[in-house]
């Protein structure tokens, strides 16, 4: 690469997502964006700002606050040959469209004996950390990962924010993209892709030899920070970013645990029935004889997410919790 001519400007996760949407709308006239406040408002989190002016109201389409109707309309439009990108404000609101997502989007291909694929992308925010209270802060992507027939993506880096969408649109089946709200302002240098994003594989974000920190989405920065702290103590932590919760890249986890013999799973959802429980169970099933310690889990406290800052912080997995869990596994 000609370093002398390449300018890597700084960008944010929000801008990376917006650029991905812009590229999708530009490159395929079957693509349109639809959701609550995506047009005139510019997106509830500012992701689609400017796209209405660029592409017009047919392709950047404000919807009523009717999650079930506009998600279902996305499914129908996908069946009829378009490539809708549907935005739901938060995962909490997506529950109002759960019937459409589970009973239609995830099910139609199978129920129809393979006749009706649903090439639909649904984007939504997830997670806490911005003092938004219980009804805007939960992490329910693990519930969606329970459902056969859909793909669940959790972009945690600028590169994934920028490039996962195109791969999601190329998938003939429904893809749900969970964007952690605390990541939107994350800023850094966005490198050009060397190859198309592969949605089937997890990524090692930091190699290590003593323990595997397995995580995704909004918890990735915390796990990386924990790995820094642990490195200062002489503990080498490998950080695995799952990236895709369904289908889950078991092989990446198994290979990492075979090297490190210990694992901490970090997941912002509640511990009970969490995605961390699934990952932990799989490590037990597939890597039991590689383990030198029980699998540790760092999850949110079993409480609806509180508003007060100190309570919210206490409820969420923090870097210190990941460090402490690592000590329990290593010591």
């Amino acid at each position: 690469m000609g370093a002398d001519t390449t300018q890597h400007s700084k960008t944010t996760y929000r801008e990376a997502m917006r650029e991905a949407l812009r590229e999708a709308l530009r490159s395929d006239d079957r693509v349109f964006l639809m959701g609550e406040d995506v047009g005139r408002y510019g997106g509830c989190f500012g992701v689609s700002l400017g796209l209405l002016e660029e592409f017009g109201p047919e392709r950047v389409r404000d919807t009523p606050l009717s999650e079930s109707a506009f998600v279902g309309a996305g499914i129908g439009a996908a069946l009829a040959g378009l490539r809708p990108i549907v935005e739901i404000m938060t995962v909490n609101f997506s529950l109002l469209a759960l019937d459409q997502i589970l009973n239609n989007a995830a099910t139609l291909l199978h129920m129809s004996g393979g006749q009706l694929p649903v090439p639909l992308v649904i984007r939504m925010t997830t997670g806490a950390g911005r003092q938004l209270g219980a009804q805007h802060s939960h992490s329910l992507e693990g519930w969606y990962a329970h459902i056969p027939g859909i793909r669940v993506l959790t972009p945690a880096t600028l590169e994934d924010a920028r490039h996962m969408l195109a791969a999601a649109l190329a998938d003939p089946d429904p893809v749900l993209i969970f964007e952690h709200g605390s990541l939107y302002n994350f800023s850094g240098e966005l490198l050009p892709p060397s190859e198309p994003v592969n949605l089937d594989h997890a990524a090692i974000r930091r190699p290590g030899t003593d323990i595997s920190l397995v995580t995704y989405g909004g918890s990735l920065p915390k796990a990386l920070a924990a790995a820094d702290e642990l490195a200062a103590e002489g503990i080498s932590a490998e950080v695995i970013d799952l990236r895709t919760l369904r289908p889950l890249d078991d092989a990446a986890i198994t290979a990492s645990v075979a090297r490190t013999h210990r694992a901490v799973v970090v997941d912002e959802a509640w511990r009970t029935g969490s995605f961390a429980a699934e990952v932990s169970a799989r490590i037990t099933e597939e890597s039991f004889y590689d383990l030198d310690a029980p699998v540790e889990r760092v999850c949110s406290a079993e409480v609806p997410m509180p508003y007060a800052r100190q309570l919210e912080e206490a409820a969420l997995p923090q870097t210190a919790d990941i460090v402490a869990a690592t000590h329990r596994a290593v010591d």
């Binding site: 349109f32 009523p64 109707a69 506009f70 309309a73 040959g81 459409q100 139609l108 291909l109 694929p117």
Partner: protein, 364 residues
Amino acid sequence: MSVARPTRTRKDPAHPKAGKKAATTKSAQRKANTGPPTGRTGPEHRTDLLEAMLRIRRFEERCVELYSAAKIRGFVHLYIGEEAVAIGVNEALTPEDAVVSTYREHGHALARGITAEAVMAEMYGRTTGCSGGRGGSMHLFDASRRFYGGNAIVAGGLPLAAGLALADRIRERANVTCCFFGDGAFAEGEFHETANLAALWKLPLLLVCENNLYAMGTALERHEAQTDLAMRAASYGMVAWAVDGMDGEAVEQAARRAVEGIRAGTGPHFLELRTYRFRAHSMYDPDRYRQKGEIEQWKSRDPISLLMDRMREDGELDDKELARIEQRVTDEIDHAVEAAEQAPEEPVGHLLRHVTSSSAEAVS
């Protein structure tokens, strides 16, 4: 926007519920079908309508036998008594139009041209079924006929239908999407969300409410605070009519007018078709919530008898012709059952096919 009322309102003595909770709006006196009829008419057309209705009726009567003999299983919701709705509406649609249906969809599927053989094989759970044996009675699909189910969640097909219509609008195709649902759907948010969205965006959507007066076992008066369904649909700013759903010709005329309006770009139209299912909600249902007298009254307006009487009066049908039609339909269904009996079962090794587009074939 107009709210026209049925050709036979409840004040009409011919209506089995005459005098009971008569429609009160002024517009109730107006007729849905003013002006000359459009589309095909005449004796041949009536014969086609009759044969199409008889196909559904005889098909489902055979389903009852097969269900009792444990040849077919699952929840089976029969359409007997409502045939005029499927047939009348289908007459107004082209093959390019889309249809979204409910779990009581044998009639819609057959009306849409899915063969009795493909539907029966699906009931048998065979490979040759229209959903490859994965759907059953409640989930009939045929992409080639733009037949999108087969949706067993009450009102669950409505948003999907709006999306099909939206795609046609965005692509500037002249198609109409027709969505069938029952009166029970009025209690679901999805009906209202979809009605609002469709009217707001002027989508080419035909909303067909089969008001058979019962949401499963709960009577309309016990599940809706306001039972004037067409009036409620009209409140969203769409053209809405209530029509006698036992009169296939009236249904067809109303549907044709609605479809013409939709194709002319006037947005979604709503038809409330007042009909009745002669049998219980499903094969499991002991039907304890309806009076025998009520059922008998409605049977006196059987849509098939109604059309036959009219044809006989006009000298368009005699016993010989009827026997020929019956024989054709019987042969077709006999053949469908025989074919289903002999059709191969999907190998269990194919269990995980079609979960995703790249699904493996092996059993995990």
